[in-house]
């Protein structure tokens, strides 16, 4: 994958790119207002970050405690080392229950593990019930944002899609009408479902409970109807105590969408009296990240999406340009951990402006981690050789002040002398849309020296 290329393609439709940027900026603005309502906001971020740091420092203990408590409550806990184990576990639970039709609420983990295609190939019928997720499922594409999966799609396109798939009126793009049509269709899926699969926002070690946040209530509709509930979670979702939820829930929805809390925040402690609860704990590379001190705190992420909404690059390149389940700043870090070679352009898909770091509700130093990944990419010699050589050459030049002066003077005079067509030839990427600065005859140091000399003369005359 090549982010700059994909981004350029996205930006080629300038009107649409502007629309995308403004839609996300609107969410960012709502977040700002929601955060401003809480005077202790920065304190919340600080404490949430500390709790996450503490938890991943004691992850083994907390995972075991969680398993024990959840089991005591009657849940079944499963462990999966990687995506394929996860998918196999889910499939066999479904098979054991004779389940075929599944309703699934939003779970980035199951996206990461590619659960849908796995189950579909095995003959299961799986419906993503979050409206945005369902839209992208019907379009046969991945979500472009972790909280707003269909943020890249225009309502006219949803209208057309629903017209084709659900038989809604042709040409209607009214969100109320389209949502109502989706509701009616999805309601049938809920009522017919044999099992519900959900993600997990938080898992409480102290109590063995899991917490699932939605606005549509689709996770609860799912877990409230069929008796079988499979909850899939990355092992970093653990928090120590129930009371810690106060911090995280205060931060999560405000950061993500600017809401004071999601419409539904469900706490499942054990299965329904008439049902079963299976919790699948998934590693899939997380323990590898844990081992790398520089990148460890990327596991603090609570998947609020704020770093995407605020990222000026994400807003202008779209989630699909990242080519990874999780896009934006945090996605670039996680993708690099998964495969630094395949995703090496992602840490460079940032101007390092640091807005992500300042907005992150759990204080992940996102832009510094992106920079650290760049070092890693260079160290592993993944960065193309010409770039590495260019930087080495520049370094050699800059280590020789006299050579630097000479080189600067010559470059400036050549730049001034050569014809414009040559200066702005196609290799001048800077110059495609921008002028180069007018090249001065004298450098600063030359001017400074001359001035100093003149002053000395004056002093002398006196």
């Amino acid at each position: 994958m090549n982010h700059p290329q994909e981004a350029a393609r996205f930006l080629a439709n300038a009107k649409r790119a502007k629309w995308h940027d403004e839609a996300l900026w609107f969410v960012r603005s709502k977040r700002d207002m929601a955060a401003a309502d809480i005077p202790e906001w920065e304190q919340l971020r600080q404490q949430a970050s500390q709790i996450k740091a503490h938890t991943i420092a004691n992850l083994k203990t907390y995972l075991q405690q969680f398993e024990q408590k959840a089991t005591d409550l009657g849940a079944h806990v499963h462990w999966a080392r990687d995506a394929s184990e996860h998918n196999t576990i889910v499939q066999s639970i479904l098979r054991d229950h004779g389940a075929r039709r599944i309703v699934k609420s939003k779970s980035m983990l199951t996206e990461e593990c590619q659960l849908n295609p796995h189950l579909e190939n095995a003959g299961f019928e799986i419906t993503d019930t979050d409206l945005g997720e369902w839209i992208v499922q019907l379009r046969n594409e991945p979500p472009s944002h972790i909280v707003l999966p269909a943020i890249h799609i225009k309502k006219e396109e949803v209208g057309e899609l629903f017209h084709q798939k659900l038989g809604t009126r042709q040409g209607s793009a009214d969100p109320d009408y389209l949502t109502e049509s989706a509701r009616n269709t999805l309601r049938k899926s809920f009522l017919q479902a044999d099992a519900a699969i959900t993600g997990v926002n938080f898992a409480i070690a102290e109590t063995g409970g899991i917490v699932i946040c939605t606005n549509e209530g689709n996770a609860d509709m799912g877990t409230g109807l069929p008796g079988l509930h499979i909850a899939c979670m990355g092992i970093e979702k653990i928090i120590p105590r129930a009371e810690d939820l106060a911090l995280f829930l205060r931060l999560l929805a405000r950061s993500g969408t600017g809401q004071p809390i999601t419409a539904y925040t469900a706490h499942h402690h054990g299965p329904r009296p008439d049902g079963q609860l299976h919790i699948v704990l998934v590693d899939n590379g997380r323990t590898e990240i844990l081992k790398q001190e520089a990148f460890r705190n990327s596991l603090h992420c609570i998947r609020c999406g704020a770093c995407m909404n605020t990222c000026p690059v994400y807003r202008r390149s779209g989630g699909h340009s990242y080519g990874y389940t999780i896009p934006g700043p945090i996605g670039s870090i996680l993708a690099s951990a998964r495969d630094p070679k395949a995703f090496y352009t992602l840490p460079y898909a940032s101007s390092l402006c640091g807005s992500c770091t300042d907005i992150c509700p759990v204080n992940i130093d996102l832009h510094h981690q992106l920079l650290a990944w760049r070092s890693e990419i260079t160290r592993q010699k993944i960065l193309p050789l010409p770039k590495r050589l260019a930087m080495a050459a520049l370094s050699h030049l800059m280590r020789r002040p006299r050579l630097y002066r000479l080189f600067g003077a010559i470059s400036r005079s050549i730049g001034r002398a050569i014809p414009r067509t040559l200066l702005y030839c196609r290799f001048n990427v800077w110059g495609r849309q921008r002028e180069l600065p007018p090249l001065p005859k004298k450098s600063f140091r030359r001017m400074f020296q001359q001035e100093a000399a003149r002053r000395e003369e004056k002093q002398h005359e006196k």
Partner: protein, 206 residues
């Protein structure tokens, strides 16, 4: 499968080294949290912004009067009410074998244990609710909360909640909603189209 899972468990745990460090101490319980001079007003204001309606009533009589004005109640034929004194049930959960049978539920009325001023959320559990799906499958949900149990913020709420036994509990803040189509807010995305919270001054008889 269970055997494989055990092997995976061991392998995952083996690849984690807990690194105890003073720098990563678990911070003590949060002692901060915004408070409001009038938590009831704050709760009502926030609930309104998230699409719900809060109605404060001094006593049962006033509650009954307010209930009578709810326009969705008159045409409702399938009603589940946890408090028959307030609203008679037409649906008997004890004789409803599967939650799917509740598919045409019009209204659900249940009691909320506590409410949070900061975010307009009401805590509801399934302790007395055989099919918790009533909270989601009903077209309209009515929650009854005692004014005395309106708390300032989430920290206060979690101080009161306990999670020792198998139970389902949910914070409900407004009706079901989505903004997945071009950020246009639509209520009744999957679940309830409306949420009405009655804040009752006089503690209802248990």
């Amino acid at each position: 499968m269970k055997k494989n899972s055990m092997k995976s468990k061991q392998s995952i745990l083996d690849s984690i080294t807990d690194f105890e460090s003073a720098a990563w101490e678990l911070p003590p319980r949060a002692t901060f949290g915004i408070t409001y001079d009038d938590p009831i007003a704050q709760f009502s204001k926030i609930l309104k912004t998230v699409g719900g309606t809060a109605i404060r009533v001094p006593n049962t009589q006033a509650l009954l009067e307010e209930l009578a004005t709810l326009d969705f109640l008159a045409p409702a034929s399938n009603i589940y009410s946890a408090i028959p004194e307030f609203l008679p049930s037409t649906v008997d959960l004890a004789h409803t074998d599967t939650p799917q049978q509740l598919h045409d539920l019009d209204v659900a009325l249940v009691r909320g244990e506590l409410a949070v001023a900061e975010n307009g959320a009401v805590w509801v559990t399934d302790e007395l609710l055989r099919h918790r799906v009533v909270l989601f499958i009903a077209e309209h949900v009515i929650l009854i909360v005692s004014v005395a149990s309106v708390l300032q913020n989430l920290h206060e709420a979690y101080e009161q909640l306990s999670f020792g036994k198998p139970q389902y509990g949910v914070f409900i803040s407004g009706p079901s909603k989505t903004a997945d189509i071009e950020q246009s807010l639509v209520f009744g995305a999957q679940g309830p189209r409306t949420l009405t919270v009655f804040l009752l001054d006089e503690e209802p008889a248990a």
